[in-house]
């Protein structure tokens, strides 16, 4: 435990239980959580989706939806019981004593009120000032959160600001009446890595300057490790472990924490480390592939492709790359870098405006995307999509999804061969046979991801394009899926074009990496070398911004 035990805690939560009434009766989201927080401390509350971490935060601030209710337990703020606080008591707590910042900052701001007015509203909620004084104060706050050109931004609307800027405004609103406790619920999820770092640094600095205690709710162990002195891990509504980050990462006690720590990719972890006890799929022998013999023809040769959209914007400007059979190449970039557009052009779902794409020596760039479904090569280039929720037809069962390419591209008609093949694919991706008759909404995120992968490999393609295949998954599921992909790749000698914003994942999965920015290649090279020793400022910035699991001190030890 860090922090002196003799000082009185700012916040004490005792055996907190929260229930939600749903169509299927009461659901217990938080099942007895106890924690305490010292003034000025930053506590990390970490867990995967459904762990109850956000619900805990909302229960503390009394911002649960109507369906949610604190069923049991006590919340004490500065020694005062606020568990059942309501009405005026709550109003004087909100903003003045504790406030909150949220995920998705743009939605958290009123879209039709100016930034200045909204900050001033928050100030006027607790302080007797005139509108002008409040506006002046608001301007100071915008300066404090380092908003560029704050005078002009005062009259801007949220939609005119970037996500990172909106989150800064949100921080300004939250700290406007100097609360002693700030709860940050996934404050940087959805922001680009570089923005993420800037916003978190700012948040940490402000909290430190003002002596504000902070609870950082996040799914990202690395993020919590970087900024918090103490981390609490939650699973299924329960608190499973509490420790300083170093202890937590080097000597996790609880089995869940062990799994979670292992599954979180770090700057040095390898695919095989992610799931130590081979949860779900049998562990596979990982052997380094021998380099392809000299003279093997290129599998993919992309020459100077350009994509101009109808409205004149340029999505991709002059992109070239080559790939050999069985090779794995990462395509990395922040949002708007053109990585998805590029991958769509390569798998022939989108037409390039200029340039040439050769697959196995054959020109395929010239075949319009509209007609490519008839090409012999359609089954050789397949794709796995980002969000598993969107990537399966809601009216198809898992079986239908996997059978679809077999039916269209291999001309297999329903029958025993088809059934056998589908079941074989399902088995290869670790999808239990009895799930095949289910519809997508009856499957979990990880199961949907497996169906998507089974569909893509059903026709034994030679090139698999993976568009952020694990971005929407929890880390523990991501770990399993990454391992699975790696296994399949080695078994079938598949070539991977791996599109991702997550540098750690790309480093593990790919032999080579290409860094994209605003549609152009910034840097490319062998993955390990590229991340260990980036040549351009932009890549260095990207690499630095990645929160690593090991806290700063340990990081130094590692790199030495």
């Amino acid at each position: 435990m860090i922090g002196s035990d003799n000082s009185k805690p700012l916040l004490e939560v005792e055996n907190l239980k929260v229930t939600f009434s749903t169509r299927r009766g009461l659901v217990e989201a938080v099942r007895g959580v106890s924690l305490s927080l010292q003034p000025g401390e930053m506590l990390g509350l970490v867990g995967e989706s459904g762990s109850g971490k956000s619900v805990t935060g909302f229960a503390i601030t009394h911002l649960l939806d109507k369906a949610g209710r604190i069923a049991d337990g006590a919340i004490r703020f500065k020694g005062q019981d606020i568990t059942r606080a309501g009405g005026a008591d709550l109003r004087s707590l909100h903003g003045a004593a504790m406030s909150m910042i949220f995920q998705n900052p743009r939605a958290a701001l009123n879209p039709i009120r100016t930034i200045g007015q909204q900050v001033a509203d928050a100030i006027l909620a607790h302080r007797r000032l005139s509108r002008q004084e409040a506006q002046a104060e608001a301007l100071n706050l915008l300066k404090a959160v380092q908003i560029r050109d704050p005078e002009r931004r005062m009259s801007a609307y949220p939609h005119e600001l970037s996500g990172g800027m909106c989150q800064r405004v949100m921080i300004a609103i939250a700290i406007s009446c100097s609360p002693q406790l700030l709860i940050a619920d996934e404050p940087t999820t959805g922001l680009d890595v570089t923005t993420q770092k800037v916003v978190m640094d700012l948040l940490a600095k402000i909290a430190a300057e003002r002596g504000m205690a902070t609870i950082l709710i996040t799914h990202d162990l690395g993020l919590a490790a970087r900024y918090c002195a103490r981390v609490v891990v939650m699973e299924q509504g329960r608190l499973v472990e509490e420790a300083a980050p170093l202890t937590l990462f080097h000597r996790p006690q609880h089995p869940y924490t062990k799994r979670l720590v292992a599954a979180s990719p770090t700057a040095t972890s390898r695919i095989e480390d992610l799931v130590p006890d081979g949860d779900g799929i049998p562990l596979i022998e990982v052997t380094e592939l021998p380099p392809p013999p000299h003279g093997t023809p290129l599998l993919l040769d992309v020459k100077n492709i350009v994509k101009r959209f109808d409205d004149g914007t340029i999505g991709v400007a002059d992109f070239s790359m080559t790939m050999r059979g069985g090779e794995s190449v990462g395509l990395v970039g922040e949002s708007g870098s053109g990585k998805s557009t590029t991958s769509r052009m390569i798998c022939r779902l989108l037409d390039p405006s200029e340039g040439e794409i050769l697959f196995d020596g054959q020109s395929i760039g010239g075949i319009p995307a509209r007609d490519f479904h008839r090409s012999e090569l359609r089954k050789d280039i397949q794709i796995v999509f980002q969000d598993p929720n969107d990537s399966l037809n809601p009216r198809y069962t898992a079986f239908d999804c996997i059978a679809h390419p077999l039916y269209r591209l291999m001309n297999m008609r329903s029958g025993d061969t088809m059934r056998q093949r589908v079941e074989e694919c399902a088995e290869r991706v670790g999808l239990p046979r009895e799930l095949l008759s289910r519809f997508p909404h009856q499957l979990s995120g990880g199961q949907k991801a497996r169906v998507g992968i089974a569909r893509a490999i059903a026709c034994k393609p030679r090139l698999l394009v993976l568009d952020e295949p694990t971005a929407a998954l929890d880390v523990s599921v991501q770990a399993v899926v990454l391992q699975l992909l790696n296994k399949l790749r080695r078994e079938d000698n598949l070539a991977f074009l791996f599109v991702s914003h997550d540098l750690n994942v790309v480093r593990m999965m790919c032999d080579r990496t290409i860094v994209l920015r605003t549609g152009a290649i910034v840097e490319q090279g062998e993955s390990r070398a590229l991340f260990a020793n980036p040549q351009t400022d932009y890549t260095r910035e990207l690499v630095d911004a990645v929160p690593h699991i090991a806290p700063p001190m340990a990081l130094q030890v590692c790199t030495v």
């Binding site: 089954k379 397949q382 999509f385 990537s391 399966l392 037809n393 269209r408």
Partner: protein, 286 residues
Amino acid sequence: MSTIETSSTLRHTAFVLRGNPVTAIAAALALLLALMAIFAPWLAPYDPIASEVSAALQPPSAAHWFGTDQLGRDVLSRLIVASRLDLTIAVTAVAVSFALGSIVGALCGYAGGRLDKAVGRFVDVLMAFPLFVLAMAMVAALGNRVENIVIATAIINLPFYIRFARAEVNIRRNLGWVEAARACGESHVAVVLRFLLPNVLPAMAVQMSLNLGWAILNAAGLSFIGLGVKPPTPEWGIMVAEGARFISTGRWWLVAFPGLALMSAVLCFNLLGDGLRDILDPRMRT
């Protein structure tokens, strides 16, 4: 696979109906209306057209439950027989505009470009008219006949289906499973007709049910102002129009009963539409 889907849909429907009695009642009422329309000639106690001047303008009684009109015709009998015409007009009009609108809209939403722009302009022009007035003008222009009421009602419904299908397809065209279908070797046309349309249909069915109610109101409104249906044909709108002359003298039954018939038909389709929304949403299936 389809057997699995059907049985799970049935089970889900039963589940939703149990939890939502209003929809069950609406569905039962809709069925009742349909049966009434089909068996109208056998259900009507009197001849709906035969007049008997001696029994004119009688209030509801045991012999004439809903009273008689100015020519002594039985209001109940006319009401029952009228359901045929009213429902036929509404159902035909909605079916036509649904079939046409959903396909055109889906193609526009998927393809975009010139076709989309041209159709968009056409829809804009239609929508620039107050729709009832447009229907009125069309019936006047095309000729004062029942077929033209159907055509006019279908045309004023068209913009909604086109826009609706267009929007629904447009938000889905770039979803993973649509692109996946193409990666599985489907052509654009197949993607629209076999993948996008079936996914959009549930939402369209809701719209269709709600539109049926609206179509009934429109058709009745047109015949109320003297377009389309001619006396002595029994039709709810025209019955109200004929009864309107006697309302100031307190003959309420001439207006109230056909009005009630109109209202319950529209209400039943509206409630059914709301209920369908719940049933057809596959995400709520368990």
